[in-house]
Symmetry: C2
Subunit: 361 residues, 2 copies
């Protein structure tokens, strides 16, 4: 579809002069948008969250503001969502910001960085810790604005065809890993591959790659990795609390009535709570099914964790020294999340440890 | 104010026949509601969350749907919010459901029960685990409906004038504790007191009570307890992840356009994420200030934790055996949260433990 046709197809702008409806309707114009996702429809967690956000906007506006959701590949490929929004091919998209680290590593912070905050601290930073503001200042360079729109909770470390016991086992490992954190593994000799969800399984099956991580038990089960790579590691230290953002073309955003902007933002928060709840509902039974199917569960060894931690800190400091945007966002993240993490060690940790012991018993 | 005056003062209903505006406006009628809170204005976490929810509704509706927020005591006392909503003295309220356990202990689940889920599992259960449905079925008996509207995260165990070292030290202890969990302490010989926020300090100062818990460092500091009770215990095992609900009079709820219902629900989710983020922002520095002011931080001893756990389980089973509503909601809660808790022990725990160790170093 050409841009001109697209504008015709997706409805009116908000300039009063072009609308024939009575004055009272101008604050709630009929608008149709398209949202392209990085997810296949089969992933009812990630794609389901985008759908829920669109549905919530429709419900809040009596369907005056309609957002049609598209799966990866329907309009643009999975890893070109930000480009499509920037160019106004679509008005908005639902994706993981860190996929776009090739443009600038600062994109990583819109999802997660290695050994970054857990889910609660990450969404807290974005919501109230200045995260939204510093990220949107950065995203402005790409003519997009972001809204919180979901999260995956702490991810698993992925599926390996062979056991990974030592830091040396990472050398030469062809590992599908999402976004910027692959550069940490690169420091340790691994060969990170960025591959969209739908293309991972065949690569892993053929042995084109040695390992692949996606999200966690429920999503990973759907993508079938356990059939060809039996060793399932935890934790996904590069996605300790990955958030997902909706990106909106800045001109399209600015053309919205303030009420629709507020509705979009609140719908994104709703999708965020929903997606967290969904993962916690579906991951536990999925993990049981995977174990029953022969999956071997392993924690990464302390030596591997420590080596990756050291490599991540070095990488983040190297980039901070030459990239002012990266440094600004990283400093903002640490200022909110480090004290939060220390606070979690008091009541939260004591409570969770006690409860975990009793639930095991 | 009499009921008739109140109806006049708080604006129109939604029946189309009484509105002179054009047809297009009927789906977005002008509505003014009042929301009464259990919180004093000084608590910008709890009262702030209620305000944010009201503000979000205003922004999403171009201020066509206005909710005026009232602090505890301005319309009705702090612990009579549900009554005021039930009787339509106000259209809605922001409170802790467990304050109303005297009507029926099932009210406890709308906030937290002793040794219940942590924050994430509790909000997940409410949002997607069937919690909202089973609770609202119960609340229907009181002519109210609930929406998620905030949470406190894991609370602290409160302020004690003397150290509490053994289970025997609980005997005869006059302890201000919120809601239903006081009945657990009662089993161990303590004398629970339900006192609204504004009245706790004078009671603790005079020694009318021996101990008091409220929420956590930031709120507790504002209420001044550290000045008269130096021993600060953790965790608040009766509020491992307390959620807060907005209650709405059922007739008022049913009279709303569907779009306003959706907006209210989404605004509540926004308030929930915001309140979590706010607590994690303000609690860490508050705890540091309290420690600098001489507060003595203690974990409850394992023996006390175990005795309380046992008493809580007994109490919940006793009530389940005679109260079908309680059993139904408790079973629903456990069905969602127990597997979620087990899942947290894999990636989340491994990640958080590693990060905590490094942040301490």
């Amino acid at each position: 579809m050409k841009r001109r046709d697209f504008i015709k197809a997706t409805g009116v702008g908000v300039a009063g002069a072009t609308i024939a409806a009575p004055a009272i309707a101008q604050s709630s114009p009929d608008i149709k948008w398209r949202m392209t996702c990085s997810w296949p429809k089969s992933l009812d967690t990630l794609y389901g969250g985008a759908e829920l956000m669109a549905k919530a906007v429709g419900e809040a506006t009596d369907n005056k503001f309609q957002i049609q959701v598209f799966a990866a590949g329907e309009i643009v490929p999975a890893l070109q969502v930000v480009d499509a929004v920037q160019n106004a091919t679509v008005e908005m998209g639902h994706t993981a910001s860190y996929y776009y680290f090739g443009k600038d590593p600062t994109f990583a912070f819109g999802t997660s960085v290695a050994f970054g905050p857990n889910s609660r601290a990450n969404q807290g930073w974005y919501t109230l810790g200045g995260g939204k503001e510093v990220l949107n200042e950065f995203y402005k360079n790409y003519n997009v604005i972001s809204l919180l729109a979901g999260q995956t909770t702490c991810q698993m470390g992925g599926w390996f065809r062979k056991e990974i016991n030592t830091v040396d086992d990472l050398k030469g490992l062809k590992f599908r890993i999402g976004g910027f954190p692959g550069r940490v593994l690169q420091k340790l000799g691994a060969v990170p591959q960025q591959i969209a969800a739908g293309d991972i399984y065949p690569a892993l099956e053929k042995g084109t790659i040695d390992a692949a991580e996606w999200v966690g038990p429920y999503d990973d089960e759907k993508l079938g990795f356990y059939k060809v790579a039996p060793h399932y590691y935890y934790p996904g230290w590069w996605e300790g609390g990955a958030i997902l953002l909706a990106f909106i073309n800045l001109d399209k955003w600015n053309s919205l009535p303030k009420s629709y902007q507020a509705i979009l933002e609140q719908a994104g928060h709703y999708a965020n709570t929903w997606m967290t709840a969904k993962y916690d509902l579906v991951n536990p039974p999925a993990l049981k099914r995977l174990l029953a199917a022969g999956t071997k569960l392993h924690g990464f060894s302390p030596a591997i964790m420590e080596a990756c931690f050291k490599a991540a800190k070095e990488l983040h400091e190297e980039i901070s020294s030459t990239n002012a945007s990266f440094k600004k966002v990283y400093d903002s993240l640490n200022a909110y999340t480090n004290p939060a993490y220390q606070w979690f060690q008091v009541a939260e940790l004591a409570y969770d440890s006690f409860m975990a012991r009793h639930l095991r018993a």
